[in-house]
């Protein structure tokens, strides 16, 4: 009987071997995947096990924490949650996290690999684990000006402000917004109800949408700045004050359709400066067609179009199409047709002009700090591209300053400060049936020629009277108060 006994022994050995292999598979090969699975409650337990680190603006935390019952020890609290929501995102015991709270979760919870050594030391010395801090580039005064401006306006809208020389994001506001404190816990009575109310299906205003980064709007006439830059860069026009060869009325190439101006404007053969000042559709439409799709796209791409930006919170990609008919290029060049941009994108356009043609990568995290406040990582400003030469940038600056001093952007004037800007009123909806979007992009300039702030403001106001919606009327005052906040802070 011993031969089959030995075989049975081998069989039993194989059973045990199968168990060992399986055990290695789930506890070694698959371990990380299982351990970090978002549905694995341990992930959430760990996330809320210790007080979460703070998100910091101007040296002050805009977040906090509070002890809770149950297997989650702490929950997040926010100061001025609605104002800062587009920056922070939310972190909720019940609903997970998004945006900055999710991206920097490792630092905020203290689980980041870069804190490993410190954590090990803390473990040995018996110190409780703490989260690190995320220091942002934001400017509290500018953010407040932006948010209050939008709130006063009442409709939907968004503001982005950048520091042109570095790409630092100074303001990032979206309205209507939501207070992430209300959904931070996991109570069915309060947090779950608040969450339901915020969902788009229950709330047409979609307050959780981060309009500054995630919504694309047709940029309308503000896009003419890009077209002007393309015309200068590609040598179509040498100078701001050189007459362009533009007929009036202008019939778009390949069609019998006239490209109309908004009103009876002096646009025949107008110079670029004049065309930008009064916002001639004909001049820029023809310039776009003359340059052609490829050259327009090339310049648009240099300004950041068609690319997602990681600030590190991801922004949607702005759109400028390829393979268009000449007439479609004409419409695209005045910010219509398929052209669409995030508020961040248009702020980048303005910032690139203000920064003498160099576009810096926009970012909102200045520094990651360990719980001891030591720096773990510092973000260095990074050049993204050079959409135009310094000379052409200065030409464009003088044109945009004319718009504010003497054109559609007068509402953005600040006494004692040079301001350049461009208004926009973008049509949308079928046959332009919906209320247009009001845009304003601008920058402020110090006396030494450097620029502390560039802003983009967009207002989608469904209740406004149609005629009222013009970038200069609705959006420029908000841009002005944001620029003032930054300029005054610097003085």
């Amino acid at each position: 009987m011993n031969k089959p006994l030995r075989r049975v022994a081998i069989f039993c050995g194989l059973l045990m071997l199968a168990l060992l292999v399986r055990n290695n598979w789930i506890q070694y090969a698959q371990a990380d995947k299982l351990r970090t699975d978002e549905k694995n409650r341990r992930v959430a337990i760990e996330r809320y096990a210790s007080p979460r680190g703070d998100i910091i603006v101007d040296g002050e935390p805009i977040t906090g924490h509070k002890a809770t019952d149950g297997d989650f020890a702490y929950k997040r609290t926010y100061k001025d949650g609605a104002m800062w929501a587009p920056v922070t995102g939310y972190v909720s015991q019940a609903f997970g996290a998004n945006q900055l709270e999710a991206i920097e979760d490792g630092i905020l919870t203290g689980n980041d690999d870069r804190l490993f050594f410190r954590n090990t030391l803390d473990m040995l010395t018996g110190k409780k684990k703490e989260g690190g801090n995320v220091v942002t580039t934001l400017n509290a005064a500018a953010q407040k000006a932006a948010y209050e401006g939008l709130k006063k306006r009442g409709g939907k809208g968004s503001v982005v402000a950048l520091e042109p020389s570095t790409g630092k994001i100074l303001a990032l506001a979206s309205f209507p917004s939501y207070d992430p404190s209300t959904i931070a816990g996991n109570s069915l009575k309060t947090d779950a109800k608040a969450w339901d109310k915020l969902q788009k299906k229950n709330n047409p205003n979609d307050p959780m949408l981060n309009r500054a980064l995630r919504e694309v709007y047709p940029p309308g006439s503000t896009f003419k700045v890009v077209t002007a830059a393309a015309a200068l860069e590609h040598g179509l026009v040498e100078d701001a004050d050189q007459k362009t060869d533009t007929p009036l009325p202008y019939v778009m190439k390949g069609t019998r359709t006239e490209l109309k101006n908004d009103g009876d404007l002096p646009c025949k053969d107008a110079t670029l400066r004049e065309a930008l000042r009064v916002s001639c559709n004909t001049v820029f439409g023809k310039a776009g067609t003359d340059l052609g799709n490829d050259k327009m796209l090339e310049t648009a791409k240099k300004f950041g179009f068609t690319e997602e930006q990681f600030t590190p919170v991801r922004s949607s990609a702005s759109v400028f199409s390829e393979n268009m008919e000449p007439s479609q290029v004409a419409l695209s060049s005045i910010g219509q047709f398929n052209t669409a941009a995030t508020p961040l994108q248009m702020a980048m356009v303005s910032a690139a002009v203000a920064n003498n043609g160099t576009l810096m990568k926009p970012y909102m995290v200045d520094e990651l700090q360990a719980p001891s406040l030591d720096t773990v990582e510092k973000t260095e400003p990074e050049k993204l591209s050079e959409p135009m030469s310094a000379k052409n940038a200065q030409i464009l600056q003088s044109m945009m300053e004319t718009v504010v001093n003497d054109g559609t952007g007068k509402n953005a004037q600040i006494s004692g400060v040079t301001v350049g800007g461009k208004t926009g009123t973008a049509q949308h909806g079928e046959n332009n049936s919906k209320n247009p979007y009001a845009w304003f992009i601008s920058y402020a300039k110090n006396s030494d020629g450097s620029s502390p702030v560039a802003v983009a403001v967009v207002i989608e106001d469904e209740n406004a009277v149609r005629g009222d919606i013009s970038g200069g009327g609705l959006a420029a005052p908000i841009a002005k108060s944001v620029m003032e906040a930054v300029v005054k802070g610097k003085q």
């Binding site: 009987m1 045990m16 168990l19 055990n23």
Partner: protein, 482 residues
């Protein structure tokens, strides 16, 4: 210990029986480790949960030490040549299982459940009863061959034990599987655990008598020896009983265990590979056939194939006539979160598994808290028990002893595989418990008895054989060549 190295043992078996040392002192030394390791684990849990050495540490250590000591003295007295590893490994597993059960008793999540009872004190009592039964087996069972007399009584007893859960009023259905009986005032009992041993006795006795008929009277067909129709009778009876268990008690594990044990013993008895082929075919037909109409089994298979889907269905509260359970996924998460070294005693969240986390799913707690390293060590300990059992079968000198030992160790190996494989997602989950580790009186008591019987067989096998009587005729024997 190969026979070729020891000329004095060439005539018996692989294991040198003659002159083998008793190894009782080795056992004692190992037992010290088997007691000290769980005591440290116990202190560890207390420190992790309450930042203090638990108050019951001393009594727990003494209790476990007492059990080990009584067991050891009984072996020393009644089975001095028994295998030295089995008792220490069983003690270690039992002790460490107690620690895990005690640790889960302190889980706030489980305490919040309606069915919560403090399990550790009961398990300690069951363990004491188990060791008492172990001592009783060694004391009363002076020779395992006595059991051979009870072959057919065992059969009747096993059938009664297996059918008890189906008796109305006595049977007790827990989460779909009907393998418990409820004795008023005493609690619940899982008769299948005892049936395992009784059935092994029956199979061993029956096969020892019938092996020649089963092995020799057969026709050869396509390289296989086909048994005669009437010899197929018993295997078909066992198969039908297994299927009945599967259908009426809806328990895949028990059914697989019994049938597998029978096939292993049949193969060992007859040395015919054809029985294995038949066995595999029949279990495949049975399992697939029953699974095609039994929703409970279908759910288990689905939960095995896609535990995440089952988790989502359970979370969403889908009620389509089937109880969806998130346990399979929770167990996988527990293992994965433990990683290589585990979180440390008392610091995991394996209690998220909820119901049965201290019985069927206890291995997940080990997986999370002592990690891959710990669970591999546990599996190897089980493998060692099986290995010692198989070795005992090899060393046994009588066919009944061989069959009984291989039946018991084979069943043990199958049970470990079915339970651990189920919890780790290697095969569908079944409602059985890890021997010694898991909470459950029947399981602990029955497995102590199983170890007792194995020790008895190995004592008989390793006992120095009486010196062969001098054969007075030897010298006079002559070969007559024509």
């Amino acid at each position: 210990m190969s026979s070729t190295t020891n000329p004095s043992t060439q005539h018996t078996s692989t294991i040198g029986a003659i002159g083998a040392p008793s190894r009782r002192n080795t056992e004692l030394a190992l037992l010290i480790f088997a007691v000290v390791i769980p005591v440290f684990a116990y202190a560890n849990v207390g420190l992790a949960l309450n930042d203090e050495v638990p108050a019951g540490l001393l009594s727990y250590g003494l209790g476990l030490g007492l059990m080990a000591g009584v067991g050891h003295l009984a072996v020393r007295k009644f089975a001095p040549y028994a295998d030295p590893l089995l008792l220490p490994i069983a003690t270690l597993l039992n002790g460490i299982g107690l620690v895990a059960i005690w640790r889960l008793d302190h889980s706030e999540r489980l305490q919040a459940s309606r069915t919560f009872v403090e399990a550790a004190p009961r398990q300690l009592m069951y363990s004491a009863l188990g060791v008492a039964l172990f001592v009783a087996v060694l004391f009363f069972l002076k020779d395992h061959r006595v059991l051979q007399r009870y072959t057919y009584i065992s059969m009747a007893g096993a059938l009664v034990l297996l059918l008890l859960p189906l008796v109305p009023g006595l049977g007790h259905n827990v989460f779909g599987a009907r393998i418990w009986i409820k004795i008023p005032g005493l609690g619940t009992l899982q008769p299948g655990e005892f049936a395992k041993i009784v059935l092994a006795v029956f199979f061993a006795g029956y096969l020892m008598v019938k092996r020649d008929a089963l092995a020799l009277a057969s026709r050869r067909f396509m390289g296989l020896y086909l048994p005669r129709g009437r010899d197929l009778g018993p295997i078909i009876v066992v198969w039908i009983i297994s299927i009945l268990i599967l259908v009426f008690e809806t328990d895949l594990g028990t059914s697989l265990l019994f049938f597998g044990m029978f096939v292993i013993m049949l193969y060992v008895a007859t040395e015919r590979t054809s029985w294995i082929v038949f066995g595999l075919l029949m279990s495949a037909v049975g399992a697939v056939g029953v699974a095609s109409f039994e929703p409970h089994i279908q759910t288990r298979v689905q939960a095995w194939l896609d535990p995440m889907r089952e988790f989502e269905l359970s979370r969403a509260g889908v009620s389509d006539g089937i109880v969806h359970s998130e346990q399979a996924m929770q167990a996988l998460w527990a293992f994965g979160s433990g990683g290589t070294l585990g979180t440390g005693w008392g610091q995991g969240n394996s209690d998220l598994i909820g119901f049965a986390s201290n019985s069927d799913f206890i291995l997940a707690t080990f997986g999370e808290e002592i990690g891959l390293a710990g669970v591999m060590a546990l599996i190897l300990l089980y493998a060692l028990i099986v290995e010692r059992g198989v070795r005992t079968a090899l060393a046994a000198r009588d066919p009944f002893g061989k069959l009984l030992a291989i039946g018991l160790s084979g069943a043990f190996a199958l049970q470990v595989f079915v339970v651990a494989g189920g919890v780790m997602g290697l095969i569908p989950l079944t409602g059985m418990t890890m021997p010694f580790l898991a909470y459950g009186g029947s399981s602990v008591i029955a497995n102590w008895a199983l170890i007792g019987i194995l020790l008895r067989i190995s004592d008989t096998a390793r006992r120095p054989a009486p010196a062969p009587a001098a054969n007075p005729d030897a010298e006079m024997t002559q070969v007559v060549r024509p």
